[in-house]
Assembly symmetry: C2
Homo-oligomer: 714 residues x 2
């Protein structure tokens, strides 16, 4: 007797989708992750470009999944115009996600179009990282697997069939606001419009908790990124026209003044052509680039190169890519057909040989989003109607371009067994594993804070860069936010001197330093020292991101999904397991902080606060606005100025409260992927009966952390 074996498909159901008269196939992709397929999905989709294997064991270790509705209640309708997906929505559900949203946080009630864009306006959904993925506080996530421009109506439509004939006689007002107040009642569904599609995959990530949903998503995407350890230090991007000697002087400035810095970023002028790019060292500016890289390395600096992917006729990459590019040019340069892996390889191999093998530790991948449609005339990048040899069109290419660009570059590092931490201006779905931080040319501090939270819903990393500032207060508060983010960057690409010596751009470039420049430099040194002391804790948070899918930075609603006070709280966030950050901006002399259930300690004063309430805080410009959860062991390092492979961190463990849960540290070489083969240690810190204990488990042979002291705070 023969046995029929079904492989790869754990569960496979067929349901009749009434409108479309199409069959829906439901496939279990991993534990608690299902994919519904109807019709003929596009050839090129976000999931189709995901190169990482799902971390199925870790996914399997999560609590038993469940959905708050029946998966068969998701309606998918294919018509002449495209595909419509309707997902049930409960009355008190809150929705989050859609990639790196800038103008919105809680997405319920909004019409969201996650379309790639360089300068997102308001809350329409335009973003540097268009993810067709949202999550609910009720513990599930929906990902529409399409690279088409898609619209989500998040419970703000009303269908004719839903409408019982209303008897309410509403008293209209006369103001526009009053007249419009009678707007649509919230609908019981999220409706998704995917024009042009002939079929679709809908991924359903189950909970039970919102945190579990995010874990499943990140683990399914290959696990969260684990940046090179040095990436958690400070990055400084020098002025665009600095030459080798000027960069060298800047490096000396950092070391001489004991200001922490791990990475120096070079801006456009390092190349012979930048708009479009040649990817060739400009010898007028950098006569001996490889010697320069080496000498910087010896001083503890990693070098990161700015570029974008539009290939100049002057580039050695032009001829090899000429027949592997789109039919429209950008800045007279080719648009490589990155949908074709062969094209990514050509682009990547050139970068490997020319840069990575000579010690370049990362790239800033610029201009891979698109111009803001709302701005109209000042449009750049390729048209949506572009055609590419692979068959992808310009619209889908726009949505995927940042992802594919990252793959082209990150693959070099993966193959070289070398970790990195890079920068990119566009990302997307299933990108959790990329150690690449997003940045923006926008500069609204409130939005910069909000984006830290929003990345947590979408497997992204956001870098709230510090550039110039309106005032010292503005500058210092921005530095604080940067210090409390995944990547701390000073982007001085148009500043002659570090911004802390002169916050005003014009004066800075005329070398007119502020009278109190040295004082502010000292304050900044203090903030950067804190950043460096946080690195071991942050590194562990990233290890949890990688191995467990837990976002290192996340909104409070992720940890407290049933606490209504967190639903619209977009300016406070969790860092790792136990730290709550509540950054201030220029306009705040003080701010209110909501502390969720439990006891919390003000990091600066050690004052105890009862959770479930809102407090007012007014930290100084050098005090970081942090609260530590009771029961936390917080290991803080003696700050180093930069992180070398053999750097050892001397730690003080702060124990908050009389009882504390064990805390972990992640210990590995910090620069290779050997941890994937188990070459790492889990260092466990426990506090019991007034005694701290350190245990170490794992195959890594060196000790990164030396615990020097335990301090109890009660």
């Amino acid at each position: 007797m023969k046995k029929y074996i079904i492989t790869g498909v754990s569960l496979c159901l067929l349901i009749l989708i009434t409108n479309a008269r199409s069959f829906a196939q439901i496939k279990t992709m991993a534990s608690g992750i299902k994919m519904i397929t109807v019709g003929a999905p596009d050839k090129y989709t976000p999931y189709g470009f995901c190169e990482e294997a799902p971390m199925k064991t870790a996914i399997g270790a999560l609590p038993q999944a469940k959905l708050p509705f029946n998966i068969n209640d998701i309606k998918i309708n294919i018509n002449n115009r495209g595909v419509i997906v309707e997902v049930p929505l409960g009355q008190d559900e809150q929705l989050y996600g859609f990639g790196l949203q800038m103008g919105s946080f809680n997405q319920r009630g909004l019409k969201i179009q996650p379309i790639v864009n360089d300068n997102p306006l308001n809350d329409r959904g335009y973003t540097h990282a268009p993810e067709t993925f949202y999550v609910s506080n009720k513990g599930y996530g929906i990902l529409i697997n399409t690279a088409r421009y898609t619209t989500f109506y998040c419970g703000n439509t009303a269908k004719l069939m839903d409408n019982a004939r209303s008897n309410s006689t509403k008293a209209d007002g006369n103001s526009v606001a009053e007249l419009y107040k009678t707007s649509n009642k919230s609908s019981g569904e999220v409706t998704v419009d995917i024009p042009g599609a002939k079929g679709i995959d809908v991924f359903v990530f189950e909970g039970p908790s919102l945190m579990n949903v995010l874990q499943r998503y990140n683990l399914f995407s290959g696990g969260g990124a684990l940046p090179a350890l040095w990436g958690l230090g400070v990055k400084y991007r020098v002025k665009a026209d600095f030459n080798q000697g000027q960069v060298d002087k800047m490096a000396d400035y950092f070391r001489r003044n004991h200001i922490p810095c791990d990475v120096l970023g070079l801006e456009p002028k390092w190349q012979t052509a930048a708009y479009s790019c040649s990817y060739v060292w400009n010898k007028d500016y950098f006569p001996t680039p490889n010697r320069f890289i080496d000498s910087m390395k010896k001083k503890g600096f990693h070098i990161n190169l700015w570029e974008h992917a539009f290939v100049s006729p002057q580039s050695p990459l032009y001829e090899p890519l000429k027949n592997k590019s789109g039919n429209y040019l950008v800045w007279n340069g080719l648009v490589p057909d990155f949908a074709d892996a062969a094209t990514r390889n050509i682009f990547g191999n050139y970068h490997r040989k020319t840069f990575v093998e000579n010690g370049i530790s990362g790239f800033k991948m610029d201009e891979c989003d698109n111009s803001n449609l709302a701005f109209g005339s000042n449009s750049w990048s390729f048209p949506e109607l572009s055609e590419f040899p692979s068959g992808i069109d310009g619209e889908k290419m726009h949505q995927m371009f940042g992802i594919l660009y990252q793959e082209a570059i990150y693959n070099i590092y993966k193959k070289a067994n070398l970790r990195t931490f890079m920068d990119v201006r566009s990302s997307g779905s299933f990108a959790s594993s990329f150690p690449v931080a997003l940045y923006s040319d926008t500069y609204d501090h409130d939005q910069y804070i909000k984006m830290i939270l929003n990345t947590g819903f979408s497997g992204l990393i956001w870098s709230p860069e510090v550039r110039e500032s309106n005032s010292i207060t503005d500058f210092m508060r921005r530095c604080q936010t940067a210090a409390l983010s995944a990547q701390m960057v000073f982007n001085s690409w148009y500043l002659q001197n570090p911004p802390w010596l002169q916050i005003n751009k014009e004066k800075n470039n005329e070398n007119q330093l502020m009278d109190n420049a040295k004082e502010i430099e000292g304050d900044v040194r203090q903030l950067l020292a804190f950043r460096m002391s946080l690195v071991p804790y942050l590194y562990n948070a990233f290890a949890d991101y990688h191995f467990k899918g837990i976002p290192p930075f996340r909104a409070l609603v992720v940890d407290y999904p049933e606490d209504k006070n967190t639903y619209n709280l977009s300016n406070e966030y969790m860092i790792g397991k136990s730290i709550l950050a509540a950054p201030l901006t220029e306009k705040d002399k003080e701010r209110s902080v909501y502390l969720p259930a439990g006891i919390w300690y003000d990091y600066n004063t050690n004052q105890k606060y009862q959770g479930g309430k809102t407090y007012t805080i007014s930290p100084t410009l050098t005090q970081l606005p942090l609260f530590i959860k009771e029961g936390t062991i917080l290991p803080l390092a003696k700050p180093v100025e930069y992180i070398m492979p053999n750097t050892q961190f001397e730690l003080t463990c702060y124990v908050y409260g009389s009882k504390a849960a064990a805390a972990n540290l992640f210990e590995d070489d910090g620069v290779t992927f050997n941890y994937k083969e188990g070459h790492y240690n889990t260092v466990t810190l426990t506090w019991n009966k007034n005694k701290g204990t350190v245990t170490r488990k794992g195959q890594f042979k060196a000790e990164r952390y030396i615990i020097k002291k335990w301090v109890v705070i009660q």
Copy 2:
């Protein structure tokens, strides 16, 4: 022997379109108007909804058409994504059009998306009147006959194949502006992206001149609108919550103070429900509506009713339309399927019986555009994914909704042989024949002026409403612009008193009138008197619009297409044949005026100016900024306060210069369509040997105009 007769198709060619491997059929629709069809165009298109027959005789009387390129050089490509149209573009061509554009004038170099929208931002192409139609100063127009959301790249793309390998080494700057300066070189084509389409009609309107192109377009659309004569007077919209008595008092105010007014507009409260609409008189406010209408009529007032097309469950129209509506609601109201003529008839018949037959002379058709996508969350109206019984989808319905709403209402008046002049917030292509003015909730005075010019390229009428103001200067300059526009409207829907008694909204509503209210009232009376004196001239300009297709208001480039100084001149325009208007705004103490070739007279001072130069003018708040072309006979009327069917205008004819061309006046009953059967006179004014002569030709039996005086200005 048998003869094969080809009917309806004057010329029919088949050309091979290489990319698409589809055949293009070129059909001559009228003299100098061709339609290229490729593939399978959509069922619902702008042209498909055009109900007026083209005025072929008038079109045939235009000069011999010709194109600056070979029509076969228009490339049409159908691919998986949709249709791409590429139209040749000469190096020094200037492009205009795309409906009621607000943020742009000369469209060359822009990416334009003519998508219907209630609050267009910047110059991306969003508009109250989305026309997929542009014209060139080289004497042709291109109309893409689609109701899909379409993108036009107006010569701002660069194709790979166009790009000879460039040897230019550009010196990049460091500022963002400098870096981006190397942007795409202008391309030699306009590229049109029509996603989702499977075929397309492209209309080509030939010249030879730009004016001829516009004439062909307007005549092809049924000839320009000829509003009811009273429509050229003053319209005043009363406060939204005024009741019958309050409107009556307002009417008396006008007559008692001798302030011209022909139309009173009622705002939301006249109905029992407004969001959505009941279309039922609110008897609490208007206990005897029909008696009210009659009494107003006797005083020389026409009544116009505000409404929109979203049908409340409280409306008698709800049940009849329930199965003829889209599957989504707006403000809990039905969205009637106006793509179906039967639905338009139900809607129209109700309005005919309930309102028009009782004397309502017009409607203000609000909310028929869509919410601004760029604004994000505050979205209203129906989703693009809506489905309608006729098969049209929400996207196409949005683009057509204003047009179809106008047809539903205007047809009542056409059938009743009754002319009107109405208001609408959305229009589109082939709408030249609608006597309906567009308006907007935006309020930028510079844009309001620019839109007067832009309507001339698109067969539209624009009403730069006066509402509240920042200052007396702001108010008076806005009044001037309104007086020099197609429809003069004071929209006081949120003002207790006329704005000239108090420009400030809050104070106005608290009945705190300005100290100099009576003085400003006098100034306004003076401006309105000028408006009324211009009515015969304006009426003739509209007759030229109807019979010859000449836009009554138009940019200078239309009359002077080879004068480079006119290419970007977006704040001066022609009224009729001989008047040049150059409105000022609040911020202008003075302004520069470019006068094209010829001699011009300052209307206020009679000073002579040599054309081809730019001058500075500084008219007072009661002086209208006008210039009269040498050789003009300008007939100005003794102002009346309102226009009745038997109103006679007493005219003074101003002769500018020693020699003058003959001028015409259009004479008919002013209120019926009988002119279409020839019941009108052409009154010709000639000036010869220092003597004025009046001749009258035609079948109309009465005399509307009495020429009282001739005045020579030299």
